[in-house]
């Protein structure tokens, strides 16, 4: 349960770049690659239950979903001008990222690898986990982000198009991905080199997770 908060904190830390409209950018991939594998892997290594990373990801998803479902029930009114979007209730966050998928994959892999002693083997495992995280997470989130920006997600469950603050203007930009126009000055496309960098970040993050989780497992009270 508490480890779920640990994942929530990590997700909040990078929430500036994980908004649904930004989920096709390289920065989104890099931020998740650096922040999340470390936590999932560490929880797996330290956890004394089955499917520890998956459980943590489920807690994270439920906590976020509770906010999405409960906050709009409270009436609210913005008090400070300028008000571009006159909301009438508390504004929910965007739907949580689908960390459940890479968490499940990480649990599946690590239950087969054992302790994996030796720095070289650990490094190799970290790189593999990094690649695994990137492949599974980006593969799932890529399409889920498209869904979140579609009209089908505009309901109480997914809160698509319902997370705009009073300072956000209305307009078609709400249903578009940002920074993905090729050739634009602000473009941040996921290129091959960006994928390589993301892999490196995810691998490093997973390596820290292996060390950290291994240490936590040995802690004596």
């Amino acid at each position: 349960m508490w480890a779920g908060f640990f994942l929530v904190l990590g997700a909040v830390f990078i929430s500036q770049v994980t908004f649904p409209n930004l989920q096709h950018t390289a920065l989104f991939v890099h931020a998740c690659a650096l922040m999340i594998p470390m936590r999932l892997v560490a929880m797996n290594r330290a956890g004394r239950c089955s499917w520890p990373a998956t459980r943590v990801a489920i807690v994270y998803t439920l906590l976020e979903c509770l906010m999405i479902w409960i906050l709009p029930l409270f009436p609210a009114q913005p008090k400070l001008a300028p008000i571009f979007n006159p909301v009438t209730h508390m504004v929910p966050p965007a739907f949580p990222l689908l960390f459940i998928a890479p968490a499940l994959a990480i649990d599946l892999v690590l239950r087969r690898t054992g302790e994996c002693a030796g720095w070289l083997r650990r490094m190799g495992l970290a790189l593999f986990l990094g690649a695994l995280f990137l492949t599974v997470f980006v593969g799932v989130q890529w399409f889920f982000a498209k869904f979140l920006l579609s009209a089908s997600a505009d309901n109480w469950f997914f809160a698509g198009n319902r997370y705009w603050s009073y300072g956000s203007r209305s307009g078609p930009y709400r249903g578009e991905f940002w920074h993905v126009k090729s050739g634009a000055e602000d473009a941040d496309l996921i290129t091959f080199s960006k994928i390589l960098l993301g892999w490196g970040l995810a691998g490093f993050s997973a390596w820290i997770g292996l060390l950290w989780g291994g240490w936590m497992r040995k802690v004596r009270r």
Binding site: S15, Q16, V17, F19, N21, L22, M67, L71, Q77, P78, K79, L80, A81, P82, I83, F84, P86, M90, V91, P92, P93, A94, Y163, W164, S165, Y166, G167, S168, R169, S170, G171, P172, Y173, R174, E176, W178, W215, K218, V219, R220, R221
Partner: protein
């Protein structure tokens, strides 16, 4: 919960688009922008709000977001409801937040105060509503929300934060060292040399990592601060270049506005103020013994020409008031220009007709009354009229300047002042170093063009009665006409507070018959 406001979200999409328009074109100069009055950001109003005579002061915050402090002093002491409502130029008035109520100041019977948060840069109008036994009145007072300065960190807060930071650093290193040293030992096992060594190494690594993080954080902070500071400019906005040419015995001043600040725009969009796109003040540098209030005509997208009146040659300060269309932001562009001698008169066609409301005064050698000699605060015009100022001395900064003037003829009789561009008077205030300038009217020092912008916006977007929404201009006769008829008024009152101590020169312009006259005073202003 304002999730969408997190981080870069507000910089995107349409939100980005309007900021693109506003920021890319205007915003890098925003901090200097909207100084319709250079160095004098506070806004004053004096006039009727419905049935109530009120004097309103809006003290602008130096930073954005920031709190504007509003005070409303009414003439009558009966209980009133006073409400403040901020309206933003780029949002519908139906999106306005609930009004804040003004509170009666303790010990006062007719002074109400309150605060409003200005959350972003741009033009706002503060709608002041007064309700009482006599009925209800509303006035729109336009303001420009910009960051004017960087507030210093209070020393005690800086020391407290450093102390807490050091504590946090030490605790962080300590926790990591302890974790490395003894976290994996069985209970009851004593710490050996090996564990101590591990703890020491972990502390060392943690210290290096933390120091690197602090260095990175410092660099990020410095870069962010530098970016913020680039927007803080000492001068006014937008960029202005000026040059004088002689054509057909006319000295023609050409102004070019916004070449640098509006690079992608063919034309600088302006709203007329008192029917004029620009209000240009020329003041001879150094002696300040020549003054002109002119109204250049647009000759191109960003170029404006004006015929110079017979001002003596010399270098002149240029102070050019303008209000931008669309955003309703008002600003003062500044520069200086060398004006050549008056050319020999020759007959021939004129290149440019002077504006009928252009006015000027050259008064070298004429003694200028100074508040340091309060027994003789009378300016005598060559036409024989006398202007008498009776301030409450000493004049202090951020207090009522007491700019109240009586105009008499040579025999000491009251005169009948006419309307000069719809106002009983136009006045200008300049500190001796040129760093503070304000253009004043009896109704206040805000842009009338911006006020009209918001009044029109209210009428367009509101279902409320036009009569209720429209400001009552009857006191100062805010009507655009050039009637020669007088107002029956012979005294002028200008709501204003000098922002800082210093030596100021004040030019008071008024109209008698068809003549626009300019009187001059000097004021020594002490610290508040």
């Amino acid at each position: 919960m304002d999730w969408a406001a997190l981080g870069r979200l507000d910089e995107k999409g349409k939100t980005l688009n309007w900021r693109t328009l506003l920021l890319l074109v205007l915003c890098f100069a925003f901090p200097a922008l909207a100084r319709a009055h250079v160095g004098s950001p506070d806004v004053f109003f004096d006039g009727l709000v419905g049935p109530y005579n009120a004097r309103i002061t809006i003290r602008m915050p130096a930073v954005v977001p920031g709190r504007a402090e509003i005070s409303v002093r009414t003439e009558i002491g009966e209980p009133l409801d006073v409400a403040f409502l901020p309206l933003y130029s780029r949002t519908s008035i139906t999106n306005a937040p609930p009004a804040d109520l003004g509170r009666l100041v303790a010990g006062e019977t007719n002074l109400y105060s309150g605060e409003l948060w200005l959350m972003t840069v741009g033009a706002y109008s503060i709608e002041i509503k007064i309700h009482g036994a006599k009925g209800e009145g509303t006035v729109q007072i336009p303001i420009s929300s910009v960051a004017l300065s960087q507030l210093p960190l209070p020393p005690f807060l800086g020391r407290a934060l450093v102390a807490l930071g050091v504590l946090l650093f030490a605790l962080g290193v300590g926790i990591i060292a302890a974790a490395a040293r003894e976290s994996v030992l069985e209970p009851g096992v004593s710490i050996g040399k090996n564990e101590r060594s591990k703890g020491f190494r972990a502390a060392l690594v943690a210290t290096v990592v933390f120091v690197l993080l602090l260095i990175g954080g410092k660099k990020w902070w410095d870069a962010d601060e530098a970016k913020f500071r680039t927007g803080l400019r000492g001068g006014a906005w937008p960029d202005l270049t000026a040059g004088v040419r002689i054509e057909n015995s006319q000295r023609i001043l050409r102004l070019t506005l916004g070449e640098k600040d509006f690079p992608s725009m063919q034309s600088i969009p302006l709203i007329p103020d008192h029917g004029k796109l620009l209000h240009l003040f020329l003041i001879r540098e150094g002696s300040r013994d020549a003054f002109a209030h002119l109204h250049p005509q647009r000759k191109g997208g960003k170029t404006f020409d004006v015929v110079l009146p017979p001002l003596p040659q010399g270098r002149y300060m240029i102070l050019c008031d303008l209000t931008l269309e669309g955003s309703a932001l008002s600003s003062t562009a500044t520069n200086s220009v060398e004006i050549p001698p008056i050319p020999d008169q020759e007959t021939g066609s004129l290149t440019l007709e002077p504006d009928r409301d252009d006015s000027w005064s050259a008064y070298a050698g004429v003694p200028v009354p100074n508040t340091s000699n309060p027994t003789n605060l009378v300016y005598t015009l060559p036409e024989g009229f006398e202007v008498r100022w009776k301030p409450h001395l000493p004049i202090r900064a951020r207090s009522d300047a007491g700019l109240r003037f009586d105009v008499r003829d040579a025999e000491g009789r009251t005169v009948d002042l006419g309307l000069y561009m719809g106002m009983l008077s136009h006045a200008a205030v300049l500190r001796s170093d040129g760093a503070i300038f304000a253009h004043l009217h009896p109704s206040g020092n805000f842009s009338m063009a911006a006020q009209s912008f918001f009044e029109n916006k209210m009428q367009r977007e509101s279902a409320k009665s036009t009569e209720t929404m429209r400001m009552d201009h009857s006191k100062m006769g805010h009507v655009m006409n050039h009637a020669q008829a007088g107002t029956g008024i012979s005294s002028i009152s200008l709501p204003y507070e000098f922002p800082t101590a210093g030596e100021y020169r004040i030019w008071i312009q008024f109209k008698i018959g068809s003549q626009v006259l300019t009187s001059v005073f000097d004021a020594s202003v002490s610290a508040p």
